[in-house]
């Protein structure tokens, strides 16, 4: 298994009160697999992702990547954040190059890699711009290029399209699908959009409302290139919607 989450729990302490966010989660993600974590807000899906990224420590259990326990963030797991988190003082090319510079990749090689990934996300013409000059969709493309250029085997995405308008969102979903067909990364993708999950995932993990547990796992039998209006697509969409709704309803009880 590429990612192996074992008996993972996480409790947050605020104002002397303990709030469990994740409870005994087991999850295996195979190499090259695209897994979506889906669930109502506050279900701990981002917490799970942050633990896999090494930003948070688990209260119990562990995460193994290639059989080795995760102890902190690392270049083997690229992260794409909802709020882009580009380095504002660096140009688009400078952002994409950041990880390569840390590794000491020679300049000529860096230029070639940066050019390749900016081409891949359609930003070749904007290499010398600064992040403030870009739209939200463009910023997220830079963030994706930055993660990919560092050639991690795993990409972790935390609601990456959540801050974008509906049109841009679908365009980027299309592009991410296309990129994944080229790059074959192991992807863990957090979203609360069922449509997005059905469009992108090989497998969808639906989580319960807090404390987050795994409620149900759907392995999608859909073609590689998906049609949002195909009957099988809408079938999955409505079935998963029903499961998620049960959890959302619990939040409001």
């Amino acid at each position: 298994m590429k990612i192996d989450v074992r008996g993972l729990s996480r409790t947050f302490v605020a104002a002397g009160r303990e709030t469990p966010a994740l409870l005994d989660v087991d999850l295996e993600v195979a190499e090259h697999e695209f897994v979506c974590l889906l669930g109502p807000s506050g279900c701990g899906k981002s917490t799970l992702l942050n633990i896999v990224a090494g930003f948070l420590r688990p209260s119990a259990g562990e995460v193994l990547v290639d059989g080795r326990p995760v102890t902190g963030p690392g270049a083997d797991r690229g992260v794409v954040f909802q709020e882009y988190v580009l380095f504002p003082w660096l140009t688009v090319a400078g952002n994409v190059e950041f990880g390569l510079q840390l590794k000491g990749t020679p300049a000529s090689e860096r230029r070639a890699i940066v050019a390749r990934y900016l081409e891949l996300v359609g930003l070749a013409a904007h290499a010398e711009k600064f992040p403030v000059q870009l739209s939200g969709g463009m910023k997220q493309r830079v963030a994706i290029a930055r993660a990919l250029a560092n050639s991690p085997e795993i990409i972790l995405m935390d609601e990456p399209f959540g801050a974008l308008d509906a049109q841009t969102r679908e365009v980027l979903q299309d592009e991410l699908g296309r990129i994944q067909r080229v790059e074959h990364k192991t992807v863990l993708f957090v979203t609360h959009s069922i449509r997005e999950a059905v469009y992108l995932a090989d497998r969808i993990v639906v989580m319960t409302s807090a404390p987050g547990r795994i409620k149900q796992v759907f392995t999608l039998k859909l073609p590689e290139i998906r049609d949002r209006f195909a009957p099988e697509f809408t079938h999955y969409e409505s079935e998963i919607t029903r499961v998620v709704k049960e959890e959302v309803a619990k939040v409001h009880e």
């Binding site: 990224a53 090494g54 930003f55 902190g72 963030p73 690392g74 270049a75 797991r77 690229g78 992260v79 954040f81 709020e83 988190v85 580009l86 380095f87 504002p88 003082w89 660096l90 950041f98 990880g99 840390l102 590794k103 711009k129 600064f130 992040p131 403030v132 000059q133 930055r146 993660a147 560092n150 972790l156």
Partner: protein, 254 residues
């Protein structure tokens, strides 16, 4: 914009001339007490010719440069350390909070006792005065750095030193530059006080000399020159800032 500014400055000059020359004609108070622009300019020309003015300016600026430079290096190092290392911060905080409100001039006599009448006391005094505000502002700028930037960099493979050098310093740089600019303005502010006591050169000394020998025009000239130097340096630093931080407003130019 620049025309309005020039007009405003010209207006001040006109009012000054009207009041001082009017006073001379009407004899409201002793003419020597209110120097005219002409008299001030005459003192300026004389001290330029005999070379004393350039010497005073260079002396003061050298003291400011060394004192401010040492304080800036210390404030940067300790500011980073205090912002990044909680035990250091907890230790420094109460000390700084206690020392900071003491008007630096209160300690000036002690600096003369400790460092003597020479350059040492002036440089040390400027360093002491400018250190605290710069330290506090730099530590605050570093603590404001967005945590998620550090996460992003760490997941691209950045180690502790990379994080400081490639993320924290550039992200905090705008705040750091503002701190340095304030520190420099403050250095110019206190150099005069430091040179009032036991100095044989410098703009403060020039002003004190004007008092001792009763040459009001020389006092006014010294004060105006300090204003000019201060705004000149500030303008240079602002221009440098605009060049350095193109990325903050690049949106407007594209």
């Amino acid at each position: 914009m620049s025309r309005t500014r020039a007009l405003a400055l010209l207006g001040v000059l006109v009012v000054w001339a009207a009041v001082s020359y009017g006073n001379r004609a009407l004899g409201v108070m002793a003419p020597a007490l209110l120097p005219t622009p002409g008299e001030v300019f005459r003192v300026f020309a004389e001290t330029m010719r005999d070379g004393s003015l350039p010497r005073h300016v260079v002396t003061s600026l050298a003291r400011v440069a060394v004192g401010f430079g040492l304080a800036a290096v210390a404030a940067l190092g300790l500011g980073l350390l205090a912002a990044l290392c909680v035990p250091v911060r907890l230790m420094l905080e109460p000390i700084i909070e206690f020392v900071r409100p003491i008007p630096p001039l209160a300690f000036l006599p002690m600096f003369l006792v400790w460092f003597g009448l020479g350059e040492g006391s002036k440089v040390a005094f400027i360093g002491y005065t400018t250190f605290f505000p710069m330290f506090v502002a730099i530590a605050a700028a570093v603590m404001r750095v967005d945590m998620t930037l550090l996460r992003a960099a760490a997941s691209l493979g950045a180690g502790r030193l990379d994080l400081i050098r490639r993320v924290i310093v550039p992200a905090a740089l705008p705040g750091i530059i503002v701190a340095l600019r304030l520190g420099f303005a403050l250095a110019l502010f206190v150099i005069v006080g430091a040179e009032f006591m036991g100095a044989d050169a410098g703009l403060g000394n020039l002003i004190m000399e004007g008092r001792t020998f009763f040459i009001p025009a020389q006092i006014v000239m010294g004060a105006l020159l300090l204003g000019l130097l201060g705004s000149l340096v500030n303008m240079l630093l602002l221009a440098a800032e605009r060049r350095l931080f193109r990325w903050r407003e690049a949106g407007a130019s594209s």
